[in-house]
């Protein structure tokens, strides 16, 4: 009895998590008349690829997508580099790195105090990053959480490995590159996936740091078209498509395309995030 009800509950809960995505897909693949008439529930009605065709021909969507891809690639690279460079010294004990506590506090304090939205914006402005992709990458590049996670992992690498490398004449840079990084592949993969997903999903910084909308990454671009109420989305050139697509079907198609990358990395993500969340269940 209990088992049945419990099972039913979870089937419903799981469905509730799937339905919104399925609905968006169904709307995006239906004709505008069917959508307006409220015939679409979970299956496309009058199946058509027209919305996707429309988007494929839409230059701004692809430009925004390209900026997002660039952002993920560059942002993940820069973030990983800075995180590794900070985590390695912090993983040393006080006896082998005298100022370790100073730098640890230097990092922690940024989590406790912050200038807030307006001063952060002005700093990005003063450093000349507005309207460049670096405005989306540098300000958040060093995350306290990621650094702590990685340096905790480094700390558990046996000391003897490092000592024997020192005997062979290796310096810290060599030890970090050749030994530590090679030994921490799982945690590095976790961080890469988390940072990449974070960059892909971010949109608010794009909104405030880009004055020129042509510099928006995909999610910021989507935000503006989703929140702005429709009407002028269509151009004359696409007038003949009007019978088949509508503002709603196009929006749905764009939402769906924007979530495809997440759908693709999700299986890999899932492998890692449980350990990630356990190590850092205090994030935020």
């Amino acid at each position: 009895m209990f088992t049945t009800i419990n099972g039913l509950f979870f089937i419903l809960f799981s469905l509730s998590c799937l339905v919104p995505m399925i609905y968006v897909l169904a709307v995006s693949l239906s004709s505008s008349t069917a959508v307006t008439a409220g015939e679409v529930i979970l299956w496309p009605v009058n199946f058509t690829w027209k919305s996707y065709e429309y988007i494929l021909n839409k230059g701004e969507y692809w430009r925004a997508m390209w900026i997002s891809v660039l952002r993920v690639a560059l942002g993940t690279g820069v973030s990983m580099m800075l995180t590794i460079l900070m985590a390695y010294p912090l993983s040393k004990s006080k006896s082998s790195f005298k100022h370790q506590p100073v730098f640890a506090w230097y990092l922690i304090i940024t989590m406790l105090f912050s200038g807030g939205l307006i001063p952060s914006f002005m700093m990005v402005k003063y450093t000349g990053l507005l309207d460049t992709i670096w405005a989306l990458i540098l300000p958040g590049a060093v995350s306290v959480f990621n650094v702590l996670l990685l340096s905790n992992f480094f700390r558990h690498i046996p000391k003897e490995i490092e000592e024997s490398a020192f005997m062979d004449g290796a310096g810290h840079f060599k030890i970090l590159l050749k030994l530590y990084l090679a030994l921490s592949m799982p945690i590095l993969a976790t961080l890469i996936v988390f940072i990449a997903v974070g960059h892909w999903n971010a949109w608010f910084d794009g909104l405030i740091y880009m004055n020129d909308q042509t510099n928006y990454p995909l999610q910021s671009y989507l935000q503006t078209i989703l929140v702005k109420s429709n009407s002028q989305v269509m151009t004359q050139a696409h007038a003949k498509l009007l019978s088949m697509v509508s503002d709603r079907t196009i929006k749905s198609a764009q939402v769906f395309i924007a979530s495809i990358p997440i759908l693709c990395v999700y299986p890999f993500l899932q492998k890692y995030f449980i350990s990630g969340i356990m190590l850092g269940s205090v994030k935020e």
């Binding site: 509950f9 979870f10 809960f13 799981s14 998590c17 799937l18 919104p20 609905y23 968006v24 959508v35 307006t36 409220g38 679409v40 529930i41 800075l82 995180t83 460079l85 900070m86 390695y88 010294p89 790195f97 005298k98 230097y106 940024t110 406790l112 105090f113 912050s114 200038g115 807030g116 939205l117 307006i118 952060s120 002005m122 700093m123 990005v124 540098l138 060093v142 702590l148 310096g171 810290h172 840079f173 999903n201 949109w203 405030i208 999610q219 910021s220 989507l222 989703l226 929140v227 929006k251 749905s252 939402v255 979530s259 997440i262 999700y266 993500l269 356990m278 269940s281 205090v282 935020e284």
Partner: protein, 299 residues
């Protein structure tokens, strides 16, 4: 004479730290100085050094702006509801999840319910805006049952609850992870003994599972209290509209509109500073108590 001497072996460590320390200095430490704006009548053309100092005037002005009180109350109301509902939901679902016997079923359920957590609020906002619109899925279904359509996101009275419901939906699955981990550490012999005594599944949950994960529950609630002035900025920004400002406007969205859209830099920084100070106190207190109650440390 012994000057400041860095052992040669450690020099590399300092060199490594230069890039991250610089980035943090520029984008985390320098903005902290920006709070001086709260005490100035800041003019971007004059900059920090030549803008007029006005002491606490901006804070005094905040007290007289009618919106401010509402904005603070909305923030507290929405955030505290979220803390309660989301924690309870995560605990309940974790307990029920633990009761699933079939490994395959359990795995699949977990995979699916964790998923919404990884979608951005742009995507989720786009979906919810559409689903809750006059012609959206929910109204289509309501229509089939003979109800009048409701434009959900334009109803100020409903808006805070929709925020709570949608966010709970998004984070519950993921939130179970911590509690599930706590449940797996419970000694199985406790359950065996309870079964011998004739305790039902329900009784086992009440008398064994919940008391055993009490520390984790207290810890999670304590930690979340530090964030009571965060009502979910991105979510609110994605879902709200001028129609629901009266109940849905929170400190963060207000700062965004005042500061970046209406260029009221000083006023926005002032309330931002107020928010940071209260948050700092709450976060420090909650971390202190978390440490005290469950010996939990973040570093």
């Amino acid at each position: 004479m012994k000057a400041i001497k860095i052992p040669r072996k450690q020099l590399a460590l300092y060199i490594m730290l230069i890039p991250p320390v610089l980035v943090l200095f520029i984008y985390a430490y320098l903005p902290m100085l920006g709070v001086v704006m709260s005490f100035q009548r800041f003019e971007p053309s004059l900059g920090f050094f030549r803008s007029e100092w006005v002491g606490l005037e901006n804070f005094r002005r905040l007290l007289y702006i009618p919106d401010v009180k509402g904005v603070v109350l909305n923030t507290l109301f929405i955030a505290s509801m979220k803390i309660v509902v989301e924690t309870v939901a995560a605990i309940l679902v974790a307990i029920l999840l633990n009761e699933i016997v079939s490994k395959v079923f359990r795995r699949s359920v977990q995979t699916i319910i964790y998923f919404p957590y990884f979608l951005s609020w742009v995507i989720l906002g786009g979906i919810f805006r559409d689903m809750m619109s006059r012609e959206g899925l929910i109204n289509v279904l309501l229509g089939k049952l003979g109800f009048e359509p409701i434009v959900f996101l334009s109803k100020a009275s409903l808006f805070p609850y929709l925020l709570v419901i949608t966010e709970t939906w998004q984070v519950t699955g993921f939130g179970t992870i911590v509690f599930l981990a706590a449940i797996t550490t419970i000694d199985p012999t406790l359950y065996e003994a309870a079964v011998m005594d004739g305790a039902s599944r329900f009784k086992q949950i009440i008398h064994i599972t919940i008391p055993s994960i009490r520390t984790t529950i207290i810890l999670m609630v304590t930690l979340s209290l530090g964030y009571i002035l965060n009502a979910g900025f991105e979510q609110v920004l994605m879902l709200y509209s001028p129609l629901v400002y009266s109940t849905g406007d929170v400190i963060d969205t207000w700062v965004y509109r005042m500061g970046l859209q209406q260029s009221q830099y000083s006023l926005a920084s002032a309330i931002g500073l107020f928010r940071s100070v209260v948050s700092l106190i709450l976060i420090s207190a909650s971390y202190y108590f978390a440490r005290k109650f469950s010996d939990h440390r973040i570093f």
